[in-house]
Amino acid sequence: MNVTPEVIAAHNLTDEEYERIRSLLGREPNLVELGIFSVMWSEHCSYKSSRVHLKRLPTAGERVIVPPGENAGVVDVGDGWCAAFKIESHNHPSFIEPFQGAATGVGGILRDVFTMGARPVAAMNSLRFGRLDHPEYGRRNRALFAGVVAGIAHYGNCFGVATVGGEVFFDDVYNFNPLVNAFALGLVRRDQIFFARASGIGNPVLYVGAKTGRDGIHGATMASAEFDEEALSKRPTVQVGDPFLEKLLLEACLEAMRSGAVAGIQDMGAAGLTSSSCEMAARAGTGIELDLDLVPQREQGMNAYEIMLSESQERMLLVAHKGREREVIDIFRKWELDAVVIGRVTDTKRLVVRHHGEVVADIPVTALTDDAPRYQRPLRPPAGRDEDRMARAQESFAETATRAEGAQSIEEVIRSEEAAGIDYNEALEKLLASPNIASKEWVFEQYDHMVRTNTVVLPGADAAVIRIKETRRALAMSLDGNGRLCAADPREGAKLVVAEAARNVVCVGARPIAITNCLNFASPERPEVMWSFSEVIDGMAEACRELRTPVVSGNVSFYNETEGRGIWPTPVVGMVGLIEDVRRVIQPGFKKAGEIIALLGETRDDLALSEYAATVLKIDTQRLVQQGHVPKIDWERERAVQETVLRAAEEGLLRAAHDCAEGGLAIALAEMCFSSLNREAIGAEIDLGGTLQTAARLFAETPSRIVVSFDEAVLGRMEEIAAELRCPLTMIGRVGGQLLRISVDGQEVIARDVRELEKIWRSAIKDAMRMETLVGAAE
């Protein structure tokens, strides 16, 4: 095949990009080289649209050992231990083939972690789908949801990593673009961290793991384009995962690393052999020569193009110290895996590929990496958006009403609905039954979340907690995103997402230390998408500085768009926190009658983007994000609330702590009443004062709030801590009885048996999914 304009276009390269390739090579590329350039310059591998913005994120901190740029970020967690972690998207493959798409997403992120030398100890995932009861797409959404969860379970359970939670959210904006973001965290001794560098001229380059097939060729390119109606015809670009093989690869890699024979190692993920070889060479400032005849293949007659671009799973590229390749090969043989020397490290700074004795590609390494295009793509706020919409929030409702073509503002709609009469008991029950709030146990019970016996806080709490067996320490982790807030105001929304993630790990008694991020967006070629991306980066950067949680790893997923319909800007944050003494862990459930219940922080009138507005008032969520005002975060307040909980936890004062998030205070209280392991459900009696409307007091989603409970004996000390840290502390009630009773200024608005509420909350997703069987596994 010749390199024609059609061939160039089929490789997703623009004319300008092709010209750039010609000038970097000083000649026309052949087809193999064109394929190599096209994957390395794809959005997925090159970050060509995002890189100029990502630079604005803070990445340094006293605990940061490995900042972004390696397979995973690494932070120091004390006593000689480090945590390696990262999150990555597998959105596109999961829409095409949910079971394998999600499974291989888990496989990829696990490899990213263990190539650092870390044994994966926890996995989480952040999932977004269209509504399960959508009249037209509900069936498909349920099938996608079931398939993705089964795929994650299949891979993680067999591999033997505890999948300890995450988040699941449903909105129709994800009907055609579900989001599947997989997170993994591993532990490594500080002096045993490995890097993805092809160092040491003359060192042998080994191919280890599964054989190469024709699967997944151009997967990275697929993930760098929007979908059209032919999306399903792309199924052959999705790979099939083999978690058993990955388990073998893990054990063999860790054993090889311990032997001292390994100089550097990288996962063959997106763009397979191509990206692993040139990225390892680029990081070390070296070159690599490969002989494709030596690559283990499971199909016959594969050409150089196919071998270089295959995305077959469970493979690694490993650089051994000269003369020690035999040791590496023997270790892999013990685990019944291929390990073959396929090339060597050179000083030419070129990637030279031979096949059947001929040079089939010869490219300067930097042309594929550092010299890849960088785009400062045009930015433009969406039409109709005010420059200072936040200021607008403070203006009179009359004025906002005239703006929206005479229609009522969201705030007015919410008030008039309430004036017409709301049954708050019914509202509470509707919210508990909303899949966005309901228990996610249908999901996490399919994941082995206890393997390796480190899971101290099980899924379902604000954050999961994994102890470090050799120490007294433990790590808390939480995944959070909020497309609604980020669609309404990407900058403020991103701040709130980071703050909530931090608050979640604080609620189990952990100090937030660092984040990883997965930035899910629509097409970067649309200026309003690029604008929202830039805004999200600025908001996230501010939040990370304010909370002193640098970004140590991450991933950008663009083109989450189908037939012109894009997703909301959906940055997902994976927050990791440190607990110095695992015995100080706090959980969200009330413990016994008589405990005092207090609210840290203050409730404001933040209903405009709430689950209450969406689920109880049934206001279209697209309208909410177009018109609703995003709460503005006050960093001093946020820090005061977090610090109060941490201080109280360190002193052992707290019985329970729980973040107020979707559904607001009433939902947080109900969840704290529900039963958990070794603890029966218990009621609470609450009285909420203030001046807000009842719905706002119950269901507003004001940030910077945590509900805590403690024994009466420590009330004085709690008040002292809160006063010292300038954190508002309001006693709102006591634990006891079988009912959740909530009064507003002395008048009871909610009174329900907590066991009945719990039943609604626990069964909502199970009931919705009852008819779905294991889609993927059954196939």
Partner: protein, 234 residues
């Protein structure tokens, strides 16, 4: 006294069993690679949970042919102790050391959660420190734990007191909802005729510390250790 934990390439609860024996039971323990055949140094063998050889065909279907399992058969025939947990139970059934089979769970999903099990027979080397009828809280984590056997076998198991654990509710009652996977007669664990081979789907090694939510599993390991110690004395 020495314990051995078998390591198939796909075992993933091997470290957990090892940890419990060494840290909580306080006894010497080795990992035993699946290609090993000499088990003479051991008093008890634990076959841990996991996915032995990937288990894509059927859980434990390949493991029964492994070199180490040929030795485990002889080891068991000599009356020495074998504890199979989860995948270990599946392998013991496939290997014919225990009767019956473990089928796909009733609702077809993998299930991971704490369940209650009732001690049906405390007169075994594995359960003598427990009370008959006691209710334990233990985690399960499996997709194929739905125990099945024919009527004659069930009758035999019942008659010979070889049903060791049954799924129950928190008060020890056997109900449909307390049976998580559809197991016949709510069976969670059985032993062989010689009472030296126990297979169980719940994970006692995950329930040996209050920090993890339950320490009900430790009595099983401690029962076994004291049995071995007494045998050594006599």
């Amino acid at each position: 006294m020495k314990f051995g934990v078998i390591v198939f390439p796909g075992s993933n609860c091997d470290h957990d069993a090892y940890h419990v024996v060494s840290k909580h039971v306080g006894q010497p323990v080795d990992f035993i690679w699946h290609r090993e055949t000499d088990l003479s140094a051991y008093d008890a063998i634990i076959i841990p949970g996991g996915f032995s050889y990937g288990d894509y065909l059927r859980a434990g279907a390949l493991a029964r042919f492994s070199p180490v399992m040929q030795s485990v058969r002889k080891f068991a025939a000599h009356g020495r102790f074998v504890l199979g947990i989860c995948n270990g139970f599946q392998i013991l059934c496939e290997a014919g050391l225990l009767p019956g089979a473990l089928m796909r769970n009733r609702d077809l999903h993998f299930i991971c959660r704490h369940v209650h099990v009732r001690v049906e027979n405390s007169d075994t080397p594995f359960t003598h420190m427990l009370k008959q009828g006691a209710v334990l809280r233990l985690p399960i984590a499996h997709a194929e734990g739905n125990y099945f056997c024919d009527d004659a076998t069930l009758d035999e198991l019942e008659r010979e007191g070889r049903i060791i654990f049954r799924y129950c509710d928190e008060r020890g009652r056997l109900t449909d909802t307390s049976n998580p996977n559809g197991s016949r007669a709510s069976i969670a664990g059985i032993c062989n005729r010689g009472r030296n081979v126990l297979g169980m789907m719940p994970h006692p090694e995950r329930a040996c510390e209050d920090l993890l939510g339950s320490s009900d599993g430790s009595a099983i390991f401690n029962s076994l250790a004291t049995t071995i110690a007494k045998m050594a004395e006599s």
